[in-house]
């Protein structure tokens, strides 16, 4: 393969501390929402009652679920504002036509019909998860907030609205949880290269070797900048 250059050594910063804190503040309430929400969707399983007991009983289950929900919606709003107002650089994460081409090429690569696509900072794999979480927040947040005030909802919408919202909320919850289990675990934890996990969510760093393998375009950009910087020095 193209291994002309010497083996890259060292690490580069991939995620800032601010991003890493947001990640932790996202997955803790997400986990709480899952373990407090699933017993309500599946009340007859062997694990339902133990889970409710684990979080401190039925009343506590509802409190934790609502608090986590409100928190995660707040985090989503904060994140959006930060990205748009402060970071002012949403381009890297916004899906482009190239992502569709990458996706098709990725599928071909899976069956050995093409080279692996050369990804930039964020591949379609990551964008899918990011925007999935975003859409999920809107759907779950809206339906959850309405269902949080049943008396107001019953007087404002027909009862059927509430019932449809319950179907949406509980089914999307199941969908979201399974996507995280399969996609997130499958892509950053249970892979032949990252198992048990990629450390970048803790210290924010990624090795140049891995950056070249997984995000070759960004790697080239980084090394180009560095060499330019070296040249200008």
């Amino acid at each position: 393969m193209t291994e002309g250059k010497a083996e890259a050594q060292g690490e580069v910063q991939r995620f800032t501390l601010h991003q890493r804190i947001q990640h932790v503040l996202l997955f803790i309430p997400f986990f709480l929402l899952v373990i407090t929400g699933f017993p309500l969707k599946f009340p007859n399983e062997w694990w339902s009652q133990p889970l409710v007991n684990l979080v401190g009983g039925w009343e506590m289950r509802g409190l934790i679920h609502r608090a986590s929900g409100i928190f995660i919606v707040g985090l989503g709003i904060y994140h959006g504002l930060w990205y748009v107002v402060v970071e002012r650089n949403p381009k890297k994460i916004v899906p482009r036509r190239q992502d569709v081409r990458d996706f098709v090429q990725h599928l071909k690569w899976l069956v050995g019909r093409a080279e692996k696509p050369r990804y930039g900072r964020y591949s379609w794999v990551e964008k899918f998860e990011y925007w999935g979480a975003g859409i999920g927040m809107v759907i779950m947040g809206t339906s959850g907030l309405v269902m949080m005030f049943p008396d107001w909802a019953f007087n404002t919408f027909p009862l059927a609205t509430y019932q449809v919202l319950w179907i949406v909320h509980s089914n999307w919850a199941l969908f979201d949880t399974l996507v995280i289990l399969i996609w997130h675990m499958g892509n950053v934890h249970f892979t032949v290269k990252n198992f048990p996990m990629d450390r970048s969510w803790i210290d924010g760093k990624i090795s140049l070797k891995k950056l070249r393998e997984e995000h070759p375009l960004e790697y080239e950009e980084t090394t180009k900048k560095e060499s330019e910087a070296d040249a200008s020095n």
Binding site: F154, V164, L174
Partner: protein, 410 residues
């Protein structure tokens, strides 16, 4: 030989009025006496049974020193003392050879009034309620055991003498099986039997659909169908059939029994328990929140009426008030727009271009031609497995390719 028996020889030779020897006369007398004795014995044996019918049957005449039975006297006493005999003779117990003594004690074989009803011979007169219950339980042990664990026995033990004993529900002397139309526990009479002490419940029940069904064909639920017959417990007791945890199953004994309450006959839907179990109320109840509504909280416990009845608690006009009992909110009529016992099967997904012939509940699902109660679940049923299978395949194949490429590099 001749010399030894001169008499016999002489008899044979003589004939006519000659004197018979003494020995022979004695033998004749003995034979005649024996014959007469046998004749007399036969005559006595023949005549004795002829004598018995000559006495009037069931004659109540009490004679000192002659054995008799309770009813022999009581049947001829004034009505308050004779009616028990006639009642008892019509009861199921009379047919099953239960006797007065089994409940009242005493000794009917005694030859005097004093002895027959002497406490020394176990006579107790009218048994008190506790004693009576114990006496009935001697034969009806299963029912007795149920009764002893029930609220009526508990109240008796705590000194409430007006609490029901066996006799208060089943009657005293004229106890009849449940199938007998005159029985106090026959479906048509049971509500008034219980209503003797529980008039409020009986009055409410009398307006409900269950009582109407009983009057139609005896198949509606009566008191004991919900409250059980002997081990009746207050609704606060978690073993009670009407406790909040058990009530849905109690109603479901009939309302989920498609064979007996089938839609084609009564028009009653038999999926009410399952649809309730899908509700938030049922889920909360499962985790121990006992404030939630079960069947009777919305449908009433005694005055259960069909939803089309304007007086029904679940009539659409009354739902805001019914829901408001717990939710302490002044609900608008919107609360009635939707199906409380909703399930996906109730939605056909048929495209409807107008609202003709829709109930307000159905209409509330109407959003353009799409019935959301059908399409939204269907969307998820397709989305979840298809997307997840794709993702799983991409993840697995991705790992396989990575390993293969690593090998090729080496």
């Amino acid at each position: 030989m001749e010399a030894r028996h001169p008499i016999r020889l002489g008899e044979r030779t003589s004939s006519g009025g000659r004197t018979v020897p003494r020995t022979r006369r004695t033998i004749r007398r003995i034979v005649a006496a024996g014959f007469l004795l046998v004749l007399a014995a036969v005559a006595v044996l023949l005549l004795l049974p002829e004598d018995a019918p000559s006495e009037p049957p069931g004659e109540p005449e009490y004679q000192e020193g002659v054995p008799t039975s309770c009813s022999d006297c009581h049947a001829n006493l004034p009505q308050n003392l004779s009616q028990p005999v006639f009642d008892f003779n019509a009861s199921v117990h009379f047919a099953e050879f239960v006797t007065c003594v089994d409940c009242h004690g005493g000794d009917p074989t005694a030859t005097s009034l004093i002895d027959a009803m002497s406490p020394d011979r176990g006579y107790i007169g009218i048994p008190d309620k506790a004693t009576l219950n114990a006496q009935c339980s001697r034969c009806h042990s299963i029912e007795g055991a149920g009764y002893r664990s029930g609220v009526h026995e508990e109240a008796l033990r705590q000194g409430n003498v007006s609490s029901a004993s066996c006799a208060d529900c089943h009657g005293v002397h004229r106890i009849l099986p449940v199938g007998d139309a005159n029985s106090t526990i026959h479906p048509l009479r049971e509500p008034s039997t219980c209503g003797t002490c529980h008039p409020g419940a009986m009055a409410a029940y009398g307006g409900g659909v269950h009582w109407r069904r009983v009057q139609d064909d005896l198949e509606g639920a009566t008191c004991t169908d919900c409250h059980r017959s002997h081990d009746i417990l207050p609704k606060e007791d978690d073993r009670s059939s009407v406790h909040v945890d058990n009530e849905a199953e109690t109603c479901a004994r009939c309302h989920s029994a498609a064979a007996s309450i089938s839609g084609w006959y009564y028009g009653v839907k038999t999926d009410r328990l399952q649809t309730y179990q899908e509700s938030f109320h049922s889920r909360a109840l499962k985790y121990g929140d006992e404030r939630v509504a079960t069947c009777s909280d919305c449908h009433e416990n005694h005055d259960v009426r069909v939803a089309t009845d304007p007086a029904s608690s679940v009539n659409q006009a009354n739902l805001p008030k019914t829901c408001g009992q717990c939710h302490t909110t002044n609900y608008s009529e919107r609360i009635a727009q939707g199906l409380v016992h909703d399930r996906e099967a109730a939605h056909s997904g048929e495209l409807r271009w107008d609202r003709d012939g829709m109930t307000p509940a159905q209409e509330s699902y109407y959003l353009g031609p799409f019935d959301l109660g059908f399409w939204v679940p269907l969307f998820f049923q397709i989305l979840i497995p298809s997307v997840l299978l794709t993702l799983l395949l991409v993840v697995i194949l991705g790992n396989v390719r990575t390993v293969l490429e690593e090998k090729r590099k080496r």
